[in-house]
Structures are given as C-alpha cells and as structure tokens.
Assembly symmetry: C2
Homo-oligomer: 234 residues x 2
DNA sequence: ATTATAAAGTGTATTTTTTACGCTTATTTC
DNA sequence: GAAATAAGCGTAAAAAATACACTTTATAAT
C-alpha cells in the first residue's frame, strides 16, 4: 500500500480503501423489495451482493453513493441517506476495506423493473432474500431497522410511493415496514389529521369496485413537518 | 469499477485517509459540557478542535474511536456510538481526509475534570463553545441532534449520570438536552411508570434541605427496554 | 424549641390521543 | 336489482399527557 505523499501534512497516516454500498429499497403495490446484484468478479463471483464502489479521490462520500446508484440503476434524484460505517478489519478478505453503507428508497414502477434486466440486477421480496456476501446481510438488517425508526419521526414512507397514491396503499406500505396490521379507520384518521395530504378528484380502482381516492402530499406541509421533526407514530 | 486482481485485490482503487473524531459530552450537575482540545500541530495549530486520529490498518473504525478516547481521556467503557461520516472533498485543506464522527457520553465527576489538565483539554459549557476548526462545528450540532433523537427511544441519558442519581437530577439532564422545562411531577410519574429505576435508601442532600432519594437503574429492565425499543417520549 | 423556608414528593382533575369497532357508501359483477 | 366488497365515516371507551394544588421532610434562622 502506498503512502500518502502529496500534501505537507499527515505524512504518518496509512491510507485505506474506502467504499460505499447501497441498500436499495423498492415498494411494489403490496410488498417491500430489495435490489441485488450478481457479482461479476472474484472472489464471490456470481454471488448475490449489494452494489458498491470505491470512493474516489475527487468525490465526496455521498457523491460516490449517488454515482453507484446512477451507474447501476440509471436513476438520480432518489432519496438516499447514510446508514453507517462498516469498519471491521477482516470484513473483506480481499483487502482492508471500510464501507459506508447508504440506503435508498424508490417507487417501483414498470420502468424501474426494467432496471433489473438492463443492469443484471434483480428485485427480491424482502422476506425472501438470498444469502449475501461479506457483511451485506447485516447491512440490510440495519437498513430495515433504520427505515422503521426513521418513519417514526419523518414521513419518509412517501419516498416509496408513486406521486399519486391512495390511503389504503399508504397503509399497506406501513404495514409492510412495521410487519403488523394497522386499523384501516384509525390509520386514515391519523394521517389526515396531519394535513400533509391533498385529495385529488381521481380514483384508483385497481383494488376495489368502489375505488379509492388518490392523494398526493403537499410539499410545503411535508417540508415543514420534516423540519419541525413531528412525531409520526402510526 | 472495481477490478479484482488476486491475491492483492482492488489495485485500481485509490486509498484515502480515514479518520475518526470524537464528540465527547459530559454532564455536570446541571449543565451539558463538551470536551475540546487545543490542537498541537499544523494546520490550525493552537485552535480548538474535537479530538481524533487516523484509522490504522489493523484496527476497526470503532476501535480507532475507542483508542482516541482512551489516549486523550484515559477512559474506557464509555458509551460511544457512530454519528456519521463527514466526507466532503475539501473538508480538510491538509489532505483528502474522510472522518467518521463518534459521540461519547460520560458522567462528569471530579476525576473526569482532572482529565482536562492531564490531557491539555478543556470542558466547555455546551452553549458557550469556542469556534472550532474544519467541520467540527457541524459535527457537534449533528451530535446534539442525534442525542435528542436517541433519547426518545432509548434511555440513553443515564449514560451521562453517575451510578446513583436523584429523579430531579435526571429531570434537569433532560431539560438541558431538550432545552425546555419539564414538569417536576409529571416527569417523576412518567419515569417511575417505566419501572427501570430502583429506589435506594440513601438521600442526596446537595440540592435541598429535605434531600432527594437516590435511585439507580435496573440493568435488566434497562436492557429489556433497549431491546424492545420502547418509546421514551418525555 | 419554634418557625420559616424550599425542594421533594403525592394526588387529582382535565384534556388529548389512541384504540376498538359498528355502520354507511360507491361501484362492479352476476 | 341483489350480492359482494373495499372505501370511507362516526362514536364510545381506554389510555396517556398535561396542569396544577397540596403535603412532607429536613435544615437554618430566630
């Protein structure tokens, strides 16, 4: 490993390899999914893995994560946030690599499904994941835990829904995240009391004869809520 | 993207400097404090700073943070947790350094105050901090935010108190963390209803003639609560 | 020794939030 | 036009949060 030589300072420090890995969540009508990739190179060739990359000298850590997402899904402007650092010495037998895991949330529409083919990736049902390499299993568990926590004080779930959605759809999303049933009527009451939803005239009739009114969230109210850090205990 | 060329893998990746920085909180009777250090080396020599170090090849990131804490305070077994990664390209003019910030909570007793002298550090009142170098100001703000959040679902505040403490002391701690007054009577009711405190026979009379009973938390109940992730909204 | 003082501790009434669940409505299918 | 079914509405009961009056305990001042 070469020593860091350029600047005047910090000459005694050992440079290390720093990577980012992305835990990509998707929500499709009634189930939570995860985007996984089949590794192209050894070791662990052909095994399922999160997608990642090394952080480059001239990019920030978050930029690196965004680059990974763009390169492997074609998508930008996706909600993404740091999960945490995975820094055990022996976590990667290939070398001493520290990884900063990031989790991303995306709406799963038809287009997104084509990602799988285009990028040799596959969307897996969250509760039917294959074995993953390295400590990626742990990263995924931690990401779900974080997602659960985060939804309690930030209406983050919207990131996983299309722009227009029905209240029952939103409820199902929360049921999937929390892994427990939520009362239809109380959920509606609670969510509407927050006044962050705007009712539209359209209905979505894919789930019932009657159809459910579509809503979208009011960006100003949403933003206000994010800043005030309002409780969102469902 | 990452290329694998065994046995030394990842040869095209650029190694970077990875550091850890520690935000060390202390609580002393009725105020929240932060331990800061006067930098010994250039750049920013003699300016106030968090304490940190580079991560070594043969230690985990968390171990590096613990080493820093031990080296600069002499203490081990202190509550410490990752805050997040600070990875902007130009955050350190000395070199491209990514820092993983950690925050630590400690009880401030007489002995701890001697740390300041022994290690050329200084405890500052949280609301009277000097200007800090680099993005350390931001780290400190983020750490307080995280501390506030975390106290909502984990009774983390205890980490800042001595083993035996009174309910009024605990309340003052939460008042300091949340920066707002809490009703004495309701606070007591709430905290006792959680059944994680054990009442002792002793009283602490430093704050009143009558004295307040000392308590300690029940480690089993506490652990159970941590695992269940109970709400701790004060 | 008596009394004033002040924080600690107890109790209770009120308001707000959460939970449980029955009933009505809109639309499609037979 | 009757049956079916998810969507949507309303209300009562339980639980939790809030506000605040009162009592207790020990010390210090007289």
């Amino acid at each position: 490993m070469e020593k860091y030589t350029s600047p005047i300072y910090y000459t005694d420090a050992t440079p290390l390899l720093l990577a980012v890995d992305c835990i990509i969540f998707g929500f499709d009508r009634d189930s939570l999914k995860l985007l996984l990739f089949q590794r192209k190179v050894a070791p662990f060739q052909a095994e399922w893995s999160l997608i990642g990359s090394f952080v480059k000298r001239e990019e920030s850590v978050l930029t690196a994560a965004e680059r990974v997402l763009k390169t492997h899904t074609g998508l930008t402007n996706v909600f993404m946030e740091e999960l945490g650092t995975y820094g055990q010495v022996d976590r990667d037998p290939g070398a001493r690599v520290i990884s900063v895991a990031h989790y991303a949330l995306m709406r799963l529409a038809e287009e997104s499904k084509q990602i799988a083919d285009a990028y040799k990736a596959q969307w897996f049902e969250f509760d039917q994941l294959p074995e993953l390499i390295l400590d990626h299993q742990q990263m995924v568990e931690d990401a779900l835990e974080k997602l659960r926590r985060k939804t309690r004080y930030r209406p983050i779930g919207f990131e996983l829904l299309p722009e227009k959605f029905t209240i029952p759809q939103l409820r199902v999303l929360y049921e999937v995240i929390y892994q427990r049933p939520l009362d239809r009527r109380n959920f509606r009451k609670k969510i509407l009391s927050m006044k962050i939803l705007e009712k539209l005239e359209e209905k979505d009739k894919t789930n019932s004869r009657k159809g459910a009114f579509l809503y979208r969230f009011n960006p100003e109210k949403y933003q206000e809520m994010v800043e005030r850090g309002v409780d969102f205990v469902i």
